[in-house]
């Protein structure tokens, strides 16, 4: 038990977020008489989270290297509109459109980064310029037609569709989405196998590992949670394409930040740019890469919500950057640089969206909603700062 105690104490910041999410969900479930935790609502919640989580992931790395990117909200709106124009007016295919828009996102990110990396222009200002420019560009693209309706089913499925059920059956568990169940099962098995292999490797090298009792408890705990989520998702239409894309992005970024040279370099630049430079890391290059990734995420985000709305509007993406920043901070990123995880920002985005979703369910007045969101953001950051101080 003392091992569990020290484990909890050591990771209080990390676990705090999960606990906060659990508490928020529990409160809304009780207040809404169970509606909040219904399959339909959870799937809806995650679909809503998708575009914001993706922006938050990009923003996290920007904040980790001590910068900020205010341009991503309107950039995502603008890129969504470009996608709409490409499909409706230029008659491009969905695939080509998506690749083109993602390329544009990368270019936009690089353009924001250029004055920051090479001239030392503050990122706040450089990206504020982007905020203005892309807002104008979005208005320009939608000026002649106003809202652009997208009739393409394939594209719209990215925001509204669900993965097909390959094992559909009228007899066996007719109300559940079987493919989703299978994927969930595979995920659980993959998780267990990877953890066991990892532990074995660590023991081979004589590294410290959890005691076997606690290890098994951890495996069971996470498996149950994964199983529960799978069950809920399968209870409605199964995994949506938005959830698949969001999870894909999170997995890739998680891998890059934790396991690759590039990831280490990004965090080193954030932790101490001068030491990083003197260690042979090209700080300019890292800055360019991180902003390019932020632009790319803006493109993905734009595609997701344009598809969700089945149209591009002149207001699309407004304040997206602020939501992403809030999600990243709730997820534990530090403005001092070098600290912040992708998983944290995903959870931050889900917490943030749970608040909106839950309060909407309860019919909370919109003005009160903003105030509560503000307070939660403040509380999260205060919690973060105080636990960090105590740890140091």
């Amino acid at each position: 038990m003392s091992e569990l105690g020290t484990l909890l104490k050591k990771n209080v910041r990390e676990y705090g977020m999960y606990i906060a999410l659990a508490v928020i969900m529990a409160v809304f479930t009780v207040l809404s008489h169970g509606v909040f935790l219904s399959s339909r609502n959870i799937v809806n919640l995650l679909n809503q989270t998708g575009y914001m989580a993706v922006l938050a992931v990009g923003m996290t790395l920007v904040i980790v290297i001590r910068h900020i990117d205010l341009s991503v909200g309107f950039l995502s709106g603008f890129l969504g509109a470009v996608a709409a124009v490409a499909m409706t007016q230029w008659n491009w295919s969905v695939g080509l459109t998506i690749v083109f828009v993602m390329g544009l996102g990368i270019v936009a990110g690089l353009l924001t980064a250029l004055p920051v990396a090479s001239l030392g222009v503050p990122a706040f200002v450089a990206s504020l310029a982007g905020w203005l420019i892309y807002r104008g560009a979005l208005m320009l693209v939608t000026a002649s037609t106003g809202t652009i309706i997208i009739p393409n089913e394939t594209f719209n499925a990215l925001g509204n569709g669900y993965i097909p059920d390959l094992f559909a059956s009228e007899v066996f568990l007719p109300s559940l989405h079987k493919t989703t169940l299978v994927i969930g099962l595979i995920a659980i098995i993959a998780y267990i196998i990877s953890q066991v292999l990892d532990r074995r490797r660590k023991m081979q090298y004589k590294f410290e590992v959890l005691s076997s009792g606690l290890f098994v408890a951890q495996l069971i705990f996470v498996s149950v949670i994964l199983g529960f989520i799978t069950w809920i998702l399968a209870g409605y239409n199964g995994l949506s394409w938005t959830i698949v894309i969001m999870l894909g992005v999170v997995l890739i970024y998680n891998f890059v930040t934790q396991r690759t040279v590039l990831g280490r370099h990004i965090y080193a630049v954030g932790g101490n740019p001068e030491a990083a430079e003197l260690s042979g890391i090209n700080v300019k290059k890292i800055t360019m890469i991180v902003f390019a990734s932020s632009g790319l995420m803006a493109a993905v985000s734009g595609i997701l919500f344009t598809a969700r709305l089945k149209s591009a509007t002149p207001q699309a993406g407004q304040l997206g950057e602020m939501d992403a920043i809030a999600a990243a901070y709730i997820g534990g990123v530090s403005a001092a640089g070098g600290v912040g995880s992708i998983m944290g920002s995903l959870i931050g985005a889900i917490v943030y969206m749970s608040l909106m979703n839950g309060m909407n369910l309860l019919g909370t007045d919109i003005s009160l909603q903003y105030i509560i969101r503000g307070l939660v953001l403040l509380l999260a950051v205060i919690f973060d700062v105080t636990t960090r101080k105590r740890a140091a």
């Binding site: 490797r201 660590k202 090298y205 590294f207 410290e208 396991r259 690759t260 040279v261 590039l262 280490r264 370099h265 965090y267 080193a268 932790g271 101490n272 001068e274 030491a275 990083a276 430079e277 003197l278 260690s279 042979g280 890391i281 090209n282 070098g338 600290v339 140091a392």
Partner: protein, 507 residues
């Protein structure tokens, strides 16, 4: 005796692991110019920080008597109110504000609710006259040269009705004319009744201006000499400054450098684009394989600038000259070029720009050479951990584990992490800037042992150090740097502290 403006009695100040001042007595007569000299780390600046209240009265032992009364300063404002003004090496002016705004900063003249600009300019003009500076008080500080800024600082101190003016190496960054001008102004202030304490490394200048000279060494007062009563010259001062015997704190080295030159720098000059100052001027030196080369010199002499300009020039100096590394003429445009070629540089400021303090030992050690523990850009976590553990063992880094954040380690252990990081790069030449700064004697010995071990394996070490005994105890050869150029090359065995000091204070 009665006419002492200041007496500091039995001052002892300790930092964790270091006794910076040990029972120091220091007295200053009213109206004199009193110079404080000593090696780097002798305790001069610490003593002045004690006096000015940077260290509050409860953080040191001993007492301060000012104008015959015991004083206890809690902070700089207290000492300022008591008539003490201090001017630091790094000037405390706001570059984007005007001269008069800087002079009156924190003591603005008000008329009702608003600031009385006219009155402030008028008062500033009078003060500028006292330091014989004829500039527009509305000019921006950033448009002034370093010499004029120094004078503005003095004017600022005068605006506080300063009785005792402390100058910490005021001439270190000045050219010859500005130096003379400053010294003249100090003499004039003396006639106006201002007492001065000046810290300086430049002995000629000290001898030209001081009425009294106090020598500090290893945190103790060695002597106080009066220009009127005592025989004072450069030789006497140097002997007092360095006159200690070298204890046997340097492990013996069995290996000898080979005859192969691994690094040669020719006609190397560098200009700092920000200040326009020529920081390095026609530097020439050689490093042999398996050799420890000492770069000696005073703080600000250009040693670190030399190292950094060679190591990929991260400060963006305009450089000229040749680097011949391992037989090839090379120019490194980024630290990564230098590292790849086999040249490493461990910085003097391990906390500021050497290590990523908020990251673990493991992450710091492999940071400069992640290629070696990764394939296709993906890190082999086990290999990375194993690497860190091996270094923790071989360098005896004291830590509960490799996941410990570097900021939680002691200075000596942090330095070992820094060493490990550069050893992992497997360089041919390691430039080691102040390898033992701020670490205790035991850890120093370990670092020296590591250095010996490395050169015996064929690595070459360029050791930059402000500690003369360290330079003498460790170096096969010594270059003395002064004023951005090399003023002498000495053999490590026959060199003496006196000779080095003479070369280092040559301007």
């Amino acid at each position: 005796m009665s006419d002492n403006i200041l007496e500091m009695r039995h001052i002892t100040k300790t930092f964790p692991g270091v006794r910076a001042l040990n029972d120091v007595n220091f007295a200053v007569r009213r109206g004199e110019i009193h110079c404080l000299v000593g090696e780097n780390g002798a305790g001069k600046s610490t003593l002045m920080k004690v006096l000015s209240g940077v260290y509050p009265h409860n953080e040191f032992e001993g007492e301060i008597i000012l104008n015959g009364k015991k004083v206890e300063f809690k902070n700089i404002h207290d000492s300022e109110d008591a008539g003490i003004g201090i001017i630091y090496q790094e000037l405390a002016l706001v570059p984007d504000m005007s001269v008069y705004e800087n002079i009156m900063l924190g003591h603005e003249i008000r008329r009702g609710m608003t600031i009385d600009v006219q009155e402030m300019i008028k008062k500033s003009t009078e003060l500028l006259k006292r330091v014989r500076l004829s500039i527009n008080p509305s000019a921006k500080i950033k448009d002034l040269g370093i010499g004029k800024r120094q004078l503005v600082e003095i004017a600022k101190a005068l605006s506080r009705n300063v009785q005792l003016l402390i100058l910490d190496e005021p001439t270190a960054a000045l050219n010859e004319d500005d130096c003379q001008n400053l010294l003249d102004i100090l003499r004039e202030l003396k006639t106006q009744g201002v007492t001065c304490i000046m810290i300086s490394h430049k002995l000629k200048e000290v001898l030209s201006i001081a009425d009294t000279i106090t020598v500090l060494r290893d945190g103790q007062t060695i002597c106080t000499l009066s220009r009127e009563k005592d025989v004072v010259n450069e030789q006497v001062l140097i002997r007092h400054m360095v006159g200690r015997s070298i204890e046997n704190i340097y492990p013996p080295r069995k290996s000898h450098p080979s005859k192969d030159v691994v690094l040669e720098v020719k006609n190397w000059s560098a200009i700092d684009t920000k200040s326009g100052r020529k920081v390095l001027n026609n530097v020439n030196f050689k490093v042999y394989k398996g050799e420890v080369v000492g770069l000696s010199g005073l703080v600000g002499s250009g040693r670190t600038e030399l190292a950094r300009s060679i190591f990929g020039n991260p400060d963006g100096y305009i450089v000229s000259g040749d680097i011949i590394f391992k037989g090839k003429k090379q120019r490194f445009n980024h630290p990564s070029d230098a590292i790849r070629a086999g040249l490493a540089y461990a910085t003097e400021d391990r906390k500021g720009n050497g290590l990523v303090l908020i990251k673990s030992i493991q992450e710091n050690i492999s940071l400069a050479n992640l290629q070696k523990v990764s394939r296709n850009g993906i890190i082999n976590e086990e290999l990375d951990k194993q690497t860190a553990m091996n270094f923790v063992d071989s360098l005896s880094i004291k830590t509960p584990g490799i996941h410990q954040l570097v900021m939680n380690l002691s200075g000596g252990n942090q330095q070992k992490v820094s060493v490990a990081k550069w050893l992992f790069v497997e360089p041919d030449v390691l430039i080691f800037d102040e390898p033992t700064r701020g670490i205790d004697v035991g850890a120093k010995y370990e670092i020296y042992t590591i250095i010996n071990d490395l050169v015996s394996k064929g690595m070459s070490i360029v050791m930059i150090s402000s500690e003369l005994p360290e330079i003498l105890g460790m170096s096969d050869r010594i270059y003395v740097v002064a004023n951005g150029t090399i003023t002498g090359e000495l053999d490590g065995k026959s060199a003496t502290q006196e000779v080095i000091m003479q070369l280092a204070t040559q301007y």
